[in-house]
């Protein structure tokens, strides 16, 4: 089968990236869809042939990823985010408006084939909420009127320019901020290698390659108390030290840029404004475990970020920071990007590796842990983008300096994405241990409209929400754990007094039910069951026995699922039922008290 040259080139380029052909499957499918608008049976057969797979293996993988389609969609695929951060700022209104305006519903295409509509989960624009993605373009801070204008442009066959950068990442620095990894945000052309080098770029790499041994790099990172920024907070240096030194197998470094935790949008600006910082971090990590191949797994929705990363990688090769004999040290390191195609589960490290191997994103049995048996069965270090981006600063300025930025055992700074009902949503780099209340009231300009604070989700939708009175707390891993919550991925979502917590819980569970991979029973059935109960409950069909039932179903999931997704779904639900039980009880009389009373809800 002859393919358009553009696709043919992309395919042959993709096939060169991986030691195992099948790895190219998901990117091939996504690029095929970019060209044809969908993936037809012929292309499935063609890709199967090229990858020595059978068509079932391709189909199986295809249907797993939510971005991949087997049917054509509209020329402009309008994706409206209604996940928590967007919802709190009118995402659902926008969704209703879009449906009315285009006259089509979820996953439907308009008669003229111009528009298709989809309600999507968090697209990583939480600080610019509400946001809409049209094809790969982000449009943020929307109102129904602004959306109309954008759609008018598309209708007229033009392409309105997307938001120039992730809204919320560039703003006036608050004095409390301690910019370390975000210090180059806002510098013109910060993503260019020349600009990067002017601002301390690749100096840490030089130091690491020329002055340090792999052991001393790991030692330094250990001393810095740098803990994993993906959510679990596992010490990065420790993770690196688990890689068996004497293994004859190749070793891999993976940057986890499958950022999809609702409320979190920090990896996107990190790669958008400072891609070289990530590259530098990865080469240093590679050096420390003697790896010579790295992958950056970028979520499929972040296509423009992927393009930026690809360009930066090209520059880095050109300047000799990647490839053979880097900086004359004799150390070789290759790096390339890999695109996902829409699956939250692939943010889980072992599922990510399955996905990178071109399979359905199912998590793997652990132990063995990735550090011993990871990608292609080889030892693998997999870290969050923010973690790896912090590495150059740790190496350059020293572990002690970095560790002292935060409290004990919580080194450095953290990008906090403050979204929801605040006056100045944004991505702020604050030292670890910064007080949450100060963060909301001072840094983010307080609760919007002078309303009272009701609740705060401290670290992405998986973390149990805190009541207003619990918010006087330092934001570090240990303090939040003590308070029964988690620092998570740093997505701080602020809720004011008018928010319905039942509705909030419902939206969270809808997300997890949509993103559950279906591997294990408690998560697959539990998330969907609780979602159904909450749907009914919020619509006014609640029964008194549902309240303990929701709690118990969540408890039954908790700690028994295959991967942490089940816990992530259970924890916020249990917390909301526990802390805001009275709100559930208020729903029992058939309507949601948090909506204007003239709008009756539910039948």
């Amino acid at each position: 089968m002859t393919l358009p040259p553009r696709l043919e080139n992309k395919f042959s380029e993709l096939l060169k990236r991986y030691p195992v052909k099948r790895s190219a499957l998901v990117p091939m499918l996504l690029y095929t869809q970019d060209v044809f608008g969908y993936i037809g049976d012929e292309m499935v057969a063609e890709i199967a042939r090229r990858l020595d797979l059978n068509t079932l293996q391709v189909t199986e993988t295809l249907v797993y990823y939510s971005m991949l389609r087997r049917e054509p969609a509209g020329r402009c695929h309008v994706q409206v985010c209604t996940n928590i951060a967007c919802k709190l700022r009118g995402g659902e209104k926008l969704w209703e408006h879009a449906q009315k305006r285009l006259g089509v519903g979820h996953k439907q295409t308009s008669a003229d084939g111009v528009f298709s509509l989809e309600e999507v989960e968090c697209i990583g624009a939480c600080t610019g909420a509400p946001a809409v993605q049209v094809n790969y373009d982000f449009h943020e801070n929307l109102t129904p009127e602004k959306l109309d204008k954008i759609l008018d442009e598309f209708q007229a066959g033009r392409k309105p320019s997307p938001a120039p950068y992730i809204i919320g990442s560039i703003h006036e620095r608050h004095p409390a901020e301690a910019p370390v990894i975000s210090r180059r945000f806002g510098i013109p052309n910060s993503r260019k290698i020349d600009v990067y080098r002017k601002h301390e770029g690749y100096q840490a790499l030089e130091k690491a390659l020329n002055e340090m041994t792999p052991e001393s790099i790991i030692e330094e990172v250990k001393k810095s108390n740098l803990r994993g920024r993906g959510g679990a907070g596992f010490p990065a240096g420790m993770k690196w030290s688990f890689v068996p030194k004497d293994s004859p197998k190749p070793k891999y470094i993976i940057a986890n840029a499958d950022e999809s935790e609702p409320g979190t949008c920090k990896d996107r600006p990190l790669m958008e404004f400072d891609p070289h910082q990530l590259i530098e971090g990865m080469v240093i990590a590679g050096r420390s475990v003697n790896s010579y191949q790295g992958y950056i797994y970028v979520r499929g929705e972040y296509r423009y970020v992927l393009d930026i990363m690809d360009e930066a990688i090209r520059e880095a090769y050109e300047h000799g920071f990647l490839g053979k004999n880097i900086l004359g040290s004799g150390f070789n390191f290759d790096l390339c990007t890999h695109t996902g195609a829409g699956a939250y589960e692939c943010g889980e490290e072992s599922a990510l590796m399955e996905s990178l191997e071109g399979k359905r994103g199912y998590p793997r049995i652990r132990p063995p842990f990735p550090a011993v048996v990871g990608l292609y069965g080889c030892p693998t270090v997999i870290n969050n983008v923010e973690t790896l981006s912090s590495v150059p600063s740790v190496i350059l300025k020293g572990a002690e300096w970095y560790a002292n930025l935060g409290p004990a055992r919580n080194g450095g700074t953290r990008l906090f994405c403050i979204s929801g009902h605040v006056n100045k949503p944004g991505i702020y780099e604050l030292p670890m241990g910064f007080n949450l209340l100060r963060m909301i009231n001072e840094v983010a300009g307080g609760v919007r409209g002078g309303k009272k604070l009701k609740a705060v989700v401290p670290g992405g939708s998986s973390t149990p929400a805190l009541k207003a009175e619990e918010c006087d707390i330092p934001m570090d891993f240990d303090s939040l754990a003590k308070a029964g919550s988690m620092l998570g991925s740093g997505g701080v979502v602020v809720l004011d007094e008018d928010t319905c917590m039942v509705d909030f819980a419902r939206r969270i569970m809808k997300f997890y039910a949509h993103e559950s991979c279906g591997w294990c029973i408690p998560c697959r059935e539990g998330t969907s069951w609780i979602k159904k109960i909450l749907d009914r409950f919020h619509a006014g069909g609640g029964r008194a026995e549902d309240i303990p039932l929701i709690d118990e179903a969540a408890k039954n999931m908790f700690g028994r699922t295959f991967c942490p997704l089940g816990d992530a779904a259970a924890m916020p639900t249990m917390a909301i039922v526990k802390k805001w039980r009275h709100e559930f009880e208020e729903h029992l009389n058939g309507r949601c008290p948090y909506k204007p009373l003239d709008v009756p809800v539910g039948v």
């Binding site: 294990c520 697959r524 059935e525």
Partner: protein, 745 residues
């Protein structure tokens, strides 16, 4: 053997010592402690997806899955705490949220693992009041139905199809709660139709089209017997109700095949109830076959046999036996031909040269023949000729098992790119008919191989020489002297090399072993061996003929010349198999014991309706030389077992003055005589009766006979596929209904 490392751990306050690397779930089950699980299936990769096997482990913060937990020294595991019981209850509650409660109409009801678990651990009430997900049932093939709502996504079917069968016809579609199992062709399956997915399914998601809504599991009588089709001797359990076979499967994982059963074993039982089945004796009168009574028919057979014998001598009569009848029946036929009639004109359709293998192995035959179990445990396998995937499905399964579980290396020499090539460490394609040359080259280094082939073979031999305890498997392509060469090559390899000769049909091996050969007596003793002849003669009360008889092909040729006057056929179709183009003109008279009107029985003078393998007791020997018990599952009115026919006939003959009647009244008595008199058949009776497979080890003293090249016309394979089974296969309508079945017979 290096000493195996063991670990000692505690489970429910009991101390257990198990080999290192044992999973807790396995250790618990072996001790009789139940750890429920849906996704765990011994032999397949681990999933830890169903979360039913959660157990409490001391010092672990949360419950652990016993199916992935490797027992370690000092570990303390508990499976009966309230926490564990609650976890099971909760998982079942989750499972039943979307599982329909249609047990009364579900074919799995009564043998459903989910039903059993719910009964044992589950809640008695559902707290799920939302709408269940529903989608219609799909017919993926005439024999495989999928009901998505019932599916609990344990992925056993996907794994067994991929890892076990290497077919990869099943996958997973969608994700999350919408996940479903999908077939490889949009809405239907294109596969080997083995039905393994149905057997492993713990619930009623995958059900058999052949058994659909017919009855319920507790209504049937279960008869463990041996499949009537190929030569691998798989145990198949018949579900019989009202004298009718409702289904066949191997859900109890018994027998040499354990989990495995192919399309023929599972669905190829309906020939038993085929409307064309003969149920009354037929005698040709005035040119047409007419119904007769058993008494008349048998009396006529005896009378006419005597007439021919008296007029033309015993060598004017030929006997062609079956490779589907039992050992006892074959033994009886040989005894009747040699002991009563007095001729060595005895043969059957030979599909492998077992005699040559036995003779080549000589004294070492006992240890050097591999059983199916040893094949599955092999570390290296050399396969010459044959296509096991089609012709010997269990052999193929065992080869895959060896590769999957022991990391065995498979070396294949074949004229075609057979499916097992995918699993082979090395595949050498040779010219058609070159297998014997390859064998000679392997043994002696001599032989005129093509350049490419010799380079590849050199590599293969180099690799084989590094392997220990290899198993060499070969088909009918190797005969006579070629087998001797293979054995010579095998002997040069390190360790104990073992062999399997691959034949076709359920009792090919037994027919050879029981001496349905023109030059050999039971146990492969030559007819020229006077001592052996005397021994059997004493036992049978006759003096046995010495002269080598005619083989099947020679008999037909002699008949065409008019030298052979009468032919006695038992369960065979020689007029077709040996391509004589119908009944030879010079043949005065033909008797056939058959189930159907075949090309041979159609032209016979007397047709005696025989019972099939599922209707009789006895033993059969599979191609690897393992004896197993057949058990009568039902009977078809009007038919008689071949054993009874031959036994009664011997009395009729004796009455007419031909030889001495055979006093063996039952197959058991015949087996007893076989165990005492046939070399290598002194198998353990308790083992047989318990359903085991007992290995035979016939010794064949060469007695001056040299192995020579045997022409392909004498020993050849019918090359059946998965969906054909010789003449019998024509009457298996269920197998014909699957699209993969070619209209071949």
């Amino acid at each position: 053997m290096p000493e195996q490392k063991t670990v000692t751990f505690t489970i429910n306050e009991r101390k257990l010592t198990v080999p290192a690397g044992t999973l807790v779930i396995e250790a618990a089950r072996r001790t009789g402690i139940e750890v429920p699980a849906f996704c765990y299936y011994p032999g397949l990769s681990l999933q830890a997806a169903c979360r039913m096997c959660l157990v409490e482990v001391e010092k672990a913060p949360k419950l652990q899955t016993a199916c992935t937990l490797v027992a370690a020294d000092g570990m303390v595991v508990r499976t009966d705490t309230p926490q564990v019981h609650k976890a099971r209850k909760d998982m079942l509650e989750f499972l039943l949220t979307n599982h329909p409660l249609d047990c009364p109409v579900c074919d799995k009801g009564g043998e459903c693992e989910l039903q059993d678990m719910t009964f044992r651990y589950g809640l008695d009430k559902s707290r799920f009041v939302e709408e269940k997900l529903h989608s219609p049932e799909q017919a993926w093939s005439p024999v495989v139905y999928y009901d998505a709502p019932r599916c609990i996504l344990c992925f056993r079917c996907v794994r067994v199809c991929d890892e076990g069968m290497d077919v990869k016809a099943l996958g997973v579609g969608q994700r999350g709660v919408l996940s479903v199992i999908i077939p490889n062709r949009e809405d239907h399956l294109e596969c080997e139709e083995c039905g393994m997915c149905i057997d492993v399914c713990p619930v009623g998601a995958l059900t058999s089209g052949a058994y659909r809504y017919k009855t319920r599991p507790w209504e049937m009588k279960y008869v463990p017997t041996v499949c009537a089709h190929c030569s691998n001797g798989c145990k198949t359990t018949l579900g019989v109700r009202n004298n009718e076979i409702q289904r066949a499967n191997n859900r109890d994982l018994s027998g040499i095949n354990k989990d495995f059963l192919c399309v023929k074993g599972r669905y190829g039982f309906d020939f038993v109830h085929h409307p064309d089945r003969l149920k009354q004796p037929l005698v040709r009168r005035n040119g047409t076959l007419q119904i007769a009574s058993w008494e008349d028919a048998l009396a006529e057979v005896a009378a006419r046999l005597k007439t021919v014998r008296d007029a033309h001598g015993p060598d004017a009569i030929g006997f062609i036996g079956s490779n589907r009848t039992t050992n006892e029946e074959n033994y009886l036929l040989g005894r009747l031909a040699r002991g009563l009639v007095g001729t060595n004109n005895v043969d059957h359709h030979r599909t492998a040269d077992y005699g040559a293998l036995v003779q080549a192995l000589g004294e070492s035959a006992g240890a050097a023949q591999a059983g199916m179990e040893q094949l599955g445990a092999a570390k290296a396998i050399l396969l010459i000729g044959n296509d096991p995937t089609n012709q010997n499905p269990l052999v193929a399964w065992q080869i895959r098992t060896a590769i999957r579980q022991n990391g065995a290396r498979l070396y294949v020499v074949n004229t075609e790119e057979i499916k097992l090539k995918r699993k082979a460490a090395q595949f050498v394609r040779v010219a058609s008919g070159a297998e014997a040359l390859i064998a000679q080259w392997l043994a002696t280094g001599e032989g005129d191989l093509e350049l490419d082939t010799s380079v590849e073979m050199m590599q293969l031999r180099g690799a084989m020489e590094k392997e220990r305890d290899a198993v060499i498997v070969f088909g009918a392509e190797l005969r006579g002297a070629a087998i001797e060469h293979v054995v010579k090559f095998g002997a040069s390899l390190p360790g104990q090399t073992r062999y399997i000769a691959l034949g076709d049909y359920a009792n090919s091996r037994g027919a050879s072993d029981m001496g349905l050969l023109p030059d050999r007596l039971p146990g492969y003793v030559w007819t020229s061996d006077a001592a052996a002849r005397d021994a059997f003669g004493k036992l049978w009360g006759a003096s046995l003929p010495e002269k080598t008889g005619l083989d099947s092909r020679q008999m037909l040729a002699a008949a065409a010349r008019g030298a052979l006057k009468a032919l006695y056929v038992v369960g065979a179709n020689p007029f077709r198999t040996f391509g004589a183009g119908g009944r030879p003109a010079g043949l005065d008279w033909v008797v056939v014991q058959e189930m159907f009107l075949t090309e041979t029985s159609r032209d016979a003078d007397i047709v005696l309706p025989a019972a099939c393998a599922y209707e009789k007791d006895g033993t059969v020997t599979n191609t690897a030389g393992e004896v197993q018990l057949l058990r009568r599952g039902l009977e078809t009115m009007g038919t008689r077992t071949d054993f009874d026919i031959l036994r009664i006939l011997s009395h009729q003959l004796s009455k007419a003055g031909v030889g001495r009647a055979i006093p063996l009244r039952t197959p058991e008595a015949a087996l007893d005589e076989i165990r005492r008199s046939v070399r290598g058949y002194g198998v353990s009776l308790p083992g047989l009766l318990a359903g085991g497979a007992e290995r035979t080890a016939p010794l064949a003293p060469a007695n001056g006979h040299k192995l020579i090249d045997v022409p392909a016309e004498s020993i050849f394979s019918p090359r059946d596929t998965l969906f054909t089974s010789g003449t019998l296969g024509r009457y298996c309508t269920m197998i014909h209904s699957v699209p993969e079945a070619k209209s071949e017979s």
